[in-house]
């Protein structure tokens, strides 16, 4: 309390030697080391197939890494499947295709963010405690979607669906939000609107955001820090100012000789 800035330097996530390979032949991640500070808005930039999605899914254990460790608030979360639900609850996730349950109402979709706090038996009757409803409506209000709470999710536009998806992630009361290409299926105007919501809400609540993007333009506009990925490795780590054309070239068009060397 006495040192309000102290938390800004606390490490939220620490990734060490993370690799993921499928069948020993396809290498999605080839040794990732990174530290993420609390409250940071970090953009992971890279072309499709660079391993960005796999990295995010390793963090909330949707994908089991082949090797390496992940520490969340100094607690190792890899290699132990017992507290899987508690770990996932702490990581809100936002997807490229929004992934709202189309036939459920907006409010119920946001309420699913509360599932990890409640027992399966309670969920059997599709009802939630009053407290959860309060949290869900608050989260909807934060993204200005509370006026559509009772509409079916599939009646909303793409941008609206993504805002509801952000509200769902917020309802988990997470410490980290993982956004996997959150604006790839939206037009530029709506994309900026969604990214602005994401940045502001996260800032207000002190949530750390890891956001995958493939567009250099948005990355420069929104990132506090940028991690460039190419072929399963981190090839850049710096600020928007340091993201020169040369660096972009290194992220997107790696030397073909180097590539063939790596395939071996």
């Amino acid at each position: 309390m006495l040192m309000p800035n102290a938390q800004n330097t606390t490490t939220m996530l620490s990734v060490r030697g993370l690799t993921k390979s499928y069948g020993g032949t396809i290498h999605a991640l080839r040794g990732i080391d990174m530290e993420v500070k609390k409250g940071e808005f970090l953009v992971i930039l890279g072309p499709s197939g660079a391993g960005k999605s796999t990295l995010l899914r390793c963090l909330n254990r949707l994908v089991e890494p082949t090797e390496g460790q992940i520490f969340h608030n100094d607690v190792q979360i890899t290699g132990n499947r017992r507290n899987l639900r508690a770990v996932r609850r702490d990581f809100g996730m936002v997807f490229q295709q929004f992934n709202l349950v189309r036939r459920l109402s907006v409010l119920t979709n946001v309420l699913t963010g509360r599932l990890a706090y409640r027992s399966s038996w309670r969920s059997l009757f599709y009802n939630f405690p009053q407290e959860d409803k309060r949290i869900a409506i608050e989260c909807l209000a934060r993204v200005n979607m509370d006026h559509k709470a009772f509409q079916r999710a599939d009646t909303l536009s793409g941008g609206e669906q993504q805002r509801v998806a952000i509200a769902r992630a917020l309802a988990q009361q997470p410490t980290v939000i993982l956004a996997d290409e959150p604006v790839a299926s939206l037009d530029p105007k709506i994309a900026r609107q969604v990214l602005t919501y994401l940045r502001e809400v996260a800032h207000e609540l002190g949530i750390t955001v890891l956001c995958n993007l493939h567009q250099v333009e948005y990355t420069r506009e929104y990132a506090e820090r940028i991690v460039g990925m190419s072929k399963g490795r981190i090839v850049f780590d710096g600020t928007g100012a340091e993201l020169t054309d040369d660096v972009i070239h290194r992220i997107y068009y790696r030397d073909p000789d180097e590539e063939t060397a790596e395939e071996k």
Partner: protein
């Protein structure tokens, strides 16, 4: 690309097209020959004979003239049998709908607790589907006695096999993104099923259930042949007593019942889907 090499590329493409086309002709000819051989052999085995049909015409005519005219006064007697048929179908289908919920979840790859459970469930469901309602009815008539309740159980079992299999396949084809989103919130398996899977399969589940009710009504009309209640019982009874005019009435009522049920169920299905 120079003009010459472009021409070469185009003629190579055309040659390849001809090659692919010829291969397709050969394939079609081979499969066609196999199909003809199989059908010819089958026709021989089942003593397929247009001559027998022609020779049988007088006998068919004789039977038809004995049926006509239907004894319409018998319709009033058939009223309760018709209602019983519908009651058998409704209860049989309802039991099947309830039973198919757990069996479809156990028999879908993405919701089954274990792959062995999945295979066991599918084998079980196939067994239910393989055994005809009439066979089940025979079993249940000896178990619970003659009458409509044996018919209800027969329909319930056979319909469970069908419904659960259809719904299981529907469960397997749900949108994975919506499931992944639920998983990422930290939801348990059961919560993912409740909030991710079930909302996605509800419309087709309701659609299949209505379709199954229509099928069950048709099945229920013949269950009486083995003593399991409904219109089939009147059908076989009047035939055995050589009251062919009344048999004709039974056939007529069955026809009307199927027609009406098809119409209503079709309307209901369109409403849901």
């Amino acid at each position: 690309m120079t003009a010459v090499s472009f021409e070469t590329a185009v003629s190579a493409g055309l040659a390849r097209e001809a090659q692919v086309r010829h291969r397709r002709y050969i394939k079609q000819a081979v499969w066609g020959a196999i199909a003809i051989a199989v059908l010819w052999y089958a026709a021989h085995q089942i003593k397929f004979s247009p001559y027998a049909v022609a020779a049988g015409v007088p006998f068919m005519w004789d039977f038809l003239t004995r049926l006509f005219p239907p004894d319409l006064s018998y319709m009033s007697v058939l009223g309760s049998a018709t209602i019983e048929t519908i009651q058998i179908a409704i209860w049989g289908t309802l039991l099947a709908i309830i039973l198919s919920i757990p069996f479809s979840l156990l028999g879908a790859r993405n919701t089954t607790p274990h792959i062995i459970v999945f295979h066991a469930t599918r084998v079980f469901l196939n067994a239910l589907r393989a055994i005809n309602e009439l066979v089940f009815a025979l079993i249940f008539v000896s178990a619970v006695g003659l009458g409509p309740f044996a018919g209800v159980l027969a329909i319930a079992l056979h319909a469970t096999g069908m419904l659960a299999k259809f719904v299981a396949e529907e469960i397997e084809s749900v949108d994975k993104g919506q499931i992944e989103a639920q998983l990422s919130t930290g939801a348990s398996r059961m919560q993912v099923i409740l909030f991710g899977v079930i909302p996605q399969v509800i419309p087709s589940f309701v659609g299949y259930s209505i379709y199954r009710l229509d099928v069950s009504i048709r099945s229920a009309t013949v269950l009486g042949l083995v003593g399991a209640g409904g219109l089939g019982f009147s059908l076989i009874q009047t035939m055995k007593l050589f009251k062919y005019h009344q048999t004709a009435t039974c056939i007529l009522v069955i026809f009307l019942l199927v027609l009406v049920s098809d119409w209503i169920c079709g309307k209901l299905r369109r409403k849901v889907i």
